[in-house]
Symmetry: C2
Subunit: 133 residues, 2 copies
């Protein structure tokens, strides 16, 4: 299979495939005599896995690590489970931060509706946004 074929089948761009090779998600491809990359069908599995893993928020660096387990002949499951739990807990923190921010913004929206724009002095640029302590 050539790079264009496999890219099409995996629904990614040719650039993406070459990028994955460069960062170690894919092993350096075999080459045809003309220098073109040549792929075995199982590379497609790896591309599909990569897409799926990205979809649940893993970075390419993490995905590369997971794949490295397989390359070493180990099952990556325990590591994957760690990553997932870790990402979930980071996510919980992140959501809490964003919710706090949203609450602040809602307060400011109300404040902005109550304040009189003509009373806004140039000194503070805009009196809707309160100075951070």
């Amino acid at each position: 299979m050539r790079i264009g074929d496999i890219a099409h089948r995996a629904s990614v761009s040719v650039k993406t495939i070459r990028h994955y090779e460069r960062i170690g998600i894919l092993a350096p491809a075999e080459r045809e005599s003309n220098g073109y990359r040549s792929y075995e069908p199982e590379v497609l599995d790896r591309l599909i896995f990569t897409r799926s893993a990205q979809a649940i928020g893993l970075t390419l660096g993490e995905i590369r690590e997971v794949i490295a387990f397989r390359e070493r002949g180990e099952t990556p499951c325990a590591h994957v489970l760690d990553l997932i739990e870790q990402r979930a807990s980071e996510l919980t923190e992140r959501i809490a931060e964003l919710e706090a921010l949203r609450a602040d913004l809602n307060t400011l929206t109300q404040r902005g509706r109550d304040l009189d724009p003509t009373a806004c002095s140039p000194t503070s640029i805009c009196h809707i946004i309160p100075p951070t302590p």
Copy 2:
């Protein structure tokens, strides 16, 4: 006031001040005869505003626009209120996405605990992560 003084008073770095000048948050500073930047006290207000606006999630580009209203002699309040409401609604969307992702991750965590690692075939790299359709 020199750049180091004002940076210290605003709790930002000297690099930050120069960066703000370059991107138009601050007007080009007056210079002393030796070429050193020289600041009037009101610039400090602008820096404090910038910090406060960043704290509620505005980008430097948006902050620059807000300041531009002031420079044109208009009150930026209406624009600021728009930005805040827009940011709040983006945030609501973003939070929903992250919550959906977290739900997926929790499902996968359970799945990962139930599945047998020794039954994980190399083809799919790791069977905890399901293929995206």
